[in-house]
Subunit: 284 residues, 2 copies
């Protein structure tokens, strides 16, 4: 095992490596924490688009086959939300967990919500709007490979995913969940500067990768048009020094381009779905 | 609002009330924390068997309509795991969150696991083995009432639930998940006294209500026969002063009796399913 980086804080040296991938919303959270705290770390890139998370060496560290995983002084730390809490405890400078019990509770209510919603949040939307086109445009061989990659039991589901656009039940539900999240954020950010209080915290870090994904998919109209508090919050997020290195350094450029191109095409339909949702909410 | 109890710690007086129910595994967790810390609290019983959690006054506090909810000095605190963390922060005597970052991470890995598994854990098993008989034995009117309680969209699902015994896919999967949990506990408890280290913590509290439910359903053979570490752990749990008041004071006695009666009847079939599982695991 080659160790390239050593975090250095208060004279103590740490071996710190993150197994991660550029397009995983969960992997972006510890990258944000590390950037906020200015801690050096070793990048161990796991290409989830090439199924590297299912390699036996990785499964030995992370039996669920998901990114991220943190290695710290020989300890394996899993689950993005717990990795962030752990990093804040081990590297207490630039604290990202509020001091008082109530704000800490508010913070964890956000991080728990994002963990709960995760499978239904931006994932289905990203695939329907963008990533499935990345498979489809590479022709029959790429499609066959994708469909069969998870074994016979998943073939039908994967075929369905390749043909599901933003109007399909899964992606549509995903759009609705994101809209509800933005609506709840708008209310809370009318009362405080950041999601769990007056200080930037793990609550914001838990949400940023999801809003950033919507932004990359050209869906920012979901807040810029009628949610001034979220708009202001996201501007402040983007102006932080942590934003660019944590959110963009590791995203494959062709994927960024695909999300931009296909997102722009999808926006009018997304907008129509959202208008319909709003109408039915008012009519109810 | 009538306040009966005031927690008293270090001279400061707190208004502390817990909305809870005797058969909810989640509600038992904060009761364990309160009992461990010796804090007085006001009980606000929400009869989930009579759908009181869907009353508008309760939904105003807890929009998801689940127990428990904590009221502390006018603040509403939701989510059993976050309530436990909050109580430990506000009442730091008799700490239940470990001091060091690594043990705290281990603790949260257990509480997060229980939150994730919750819908598939002891719930389907309890209903299949015991609670559905509580409906069925009260005759056609009770059955009609149960089937229609959640509106027309849920009728078919509720009919299926009433006829699903321990061999049905849901309850069988639930038995398997509990068996996996016990297996993982056995390994960890071979290395340490309690789930997150040498001290009793919120990790143990997150798991106790589930193991206790299996015990009430007469399924303790799942550990007493071949899992000595879990057996010893549960004996130590039961000998703690917190156990009886937190786990039994609020359970309706007829329900305890029903679980005991129907659980004893179900054990031979549960044992056969588990033997089959073990055989297929070894054969794989």
């Amino acid at each position: 095992m080659v160790i390239n980086y050593w975090g250095n804080t208060k004279g103590r040296r740490h071996m710190l490596a993150l197994y991660h991938h550029g397009t995983s919303v969960c992997a972006a959270k510890p990258r944000l924490v590390l950037a906020e705290k200015g801690i050096e770390w070793e990048s161990r890139y796991v290409d989830i688009l090439a199924n590297e998370q299912f390699a036996p060496e990785y499964l030995a560290l992370n039996p669920e086959g998901v990114v991220p995983t943190l290695m710290h002084d020989g300890q394996v730390i899993r689950e993005s939300t717990l990795i962030c809490e752990y990093l804040d405890a081990v590297f207490p400078e630039t604290p990202l967990v509020p001091d008082d019990a109530l704000s800490r509770y508010e913070m964890r209510l956000w991080t728990m919500r994002m963990d709960k919603e995760h499978p239904l949040n931006v994932g289905p939307l990203t695939f329907a709007i963008s990533h499935r086109h990345g498979v489809l445009r590479h022709g029959d061989d790429a499609v066959d490979k994708y469909i069969n990659a998870m074994g016979p039991a998943q073939v039908e589901r994967r075929q369905r995913m390749l043909s599901a656009d933003i109007e399909a039940p899964g992606p549509k539900a995903s759009l609705k969940i994101c809209d509800k999240l933005l609506g709840d954020m708008e209310v809370v950010l009318g009362e405080r500067s950041w999601l769990s209080g007056e200080e930037f915290s793990l609550a914001d870090i838990g949400v940023i990768p999801y809003i950033n994904r919507l932004d990359m998919l050209q869906l920012s109209g979901m807040w810029t048009e009628a949610r001034p508090q979220v708009t202001d919050w996201f501007e402040r997020v983007k102006s932080r020094a942590s934003y660019l290195p944590a959110m963009f350094e590791f995203v494959p450029p062709p994927l960024t381009a695909l999300m931009k191109e296909k997102g722009a095409e999808a926006w009018p339909r997304a907008e129509a779905i959202l208008a319909e949702l709003e109408k039915s909410a008012y009519g109810a």
